[in-house]
């Protein structure tokens, strides 16, 4: 980490804060593949703008480019907060095109998807270092949250001094354990929700307004 990089980063953040009153904050939706990031981004965008952000799928790495929905105005308790929602590709340390074959995808398409997925993860990391003002970290609450990728990502977010909310998604599923997610990251607030079913979205919007407003 060079002095110039630090300086550039400081200038970038100082510039951002100068315009904080006029520009919406860019809130990155991060998390591992298949946690429901795009479903959440679509839920937020549809609730407040009527439009979606991108296609949802059970196939991992469906989102292979960061997508931004600008000027999402969330109104809570007489106040409003305007954010840009940035839906990012699921972060991982490995991508094997053979995994796509298990989802009835042809080999050529699988190779292309894996190549795009790797570019997408790299792009997501770049956004995290340079271009977001806050992070919603989405976890599938039916899965073990104690993974190295989650630990690393939350560590990277903390090192950037970014405000972060942990969202324990998919609470509509029987195997969901919100407690397990809270135990994994006790230093951050965990908000349970089902982005798919729209469960607990009032609290989700309260917390977004509180943390990123």
């Amino acid at each position: 980490m060079g002095l110039l990089t630090d300086l550039r980063s400081s200038i970038s953040r100082a510039t951002s804060s100068l315009f904080a009153g006029t520009e919406p904050k860019r809130i990155g939706i991060y998390g591992p593949p298949n946690a429901g990031k795009t479903t959440l981004a679509n839920r937020i965008a549809r609730d407040w703008t009527g439009d979606a952000v991108g296609p949802e799928s059970h196939v991992p790495h469906e989102t292979r480019r960061a997508r931004r929905k600008e000027n999402v105005e969330i109104k809570r308790n007489g106040k409003s907060v305007t954010i840009d929602v940035v839906d990012t590709p699921g972060v991982t340390t490995k991508v094997d095109y053979k995994e796509f074959l298990e989802h009835d995808i042809e080999e050529d398409d699988a190779v292309r998807r894996s190549r795009e997925a790797t570019e997408g993860v790299a792009e997501a990391m770049h956004w995290l270092r340079e271009d977001v003002d806050g992070v919603i970290y989405v976890l599938d609450s039916t899965e073990d949250p104690f993974t190295q990728v989650n630990t690393m990502l939350v560590g990277i977010i903390e090192s950037q001094d970014l405000p972060v909310l942990i969202f324990a998604n998919k609470i509509d599923l029987e195997e969901a354990s919100v407690q397990r997610v809270s135990n994994a990251f006790p230093q951050h607030e965990t908000v349970p929700l089902s982005a798919l079913e729209g469960d607990n979205m009032d609290e989700v919007y309260d917390k977004i307004a509180e943390h990123f407003g």
């Binding site: 991982t92 340390t93 690393m152």
Partner: protein, 130 residues
């Protein structure tokens, strides 16, 4: 890089590179990442006495992604002690009586290393041969 296996039968074994904190100390970020990824590309398991900082981890992920190709390299598996959150310094920190967030880190090729179990006191890993 220190090589544990140097005899003629090395191709049948698994090479483990244990890299001291001292060796990494004077390196720039990209030098560290290159050292790690060159080892992993050679199918070695790389163990860092003192792991990477969050910014370096971020760049390691980014660099790893750019080197994945369908014909061979599928990425890395990585495990760290203690967690990146620093927390109370983990068992190593407590052992040393400090909050130093230094973290033992194990990195290997994704297609050869699989974490079987991880908790606060144990990482159990399966390493397969080629």
């Amino acid at each position: 890089m220190p090589e544990v296996t140097t005899d003629d039968d090395a191709g049948d074994g698994i090479q483990i590179d244990m890299i001291s904190a001292e060796r990494m100390e004077g390196m720039r970020t990209m030098e560290k990442i290159r050292l790690i990824l060159d080892g992993v590309h050679d199918d070695n398991i790389v163990i860092l006495e003192d792991g990477l900082d969050p910014d370096e981890e971020s760049k390691l992920i980014e660099r790893t992604m750019s080197e994945i190709n369908p014909d061979g390299f599928t990425g890395i598996e990585i495990e760290t002690y203690p967690g990146s959150d620093g927390g109370d310094g983990g068992f190593l920190g407590r052992l040393m009586g400090s909050d130093d967030p230094s973290k033992l880190t194990v990195i290997g090729p994704a297609n050869r290393i699989e974490t079987l179990h991880k908790d606060e006191t144990l990482i159990s890993t399966l390493v397969t041969r080629r």
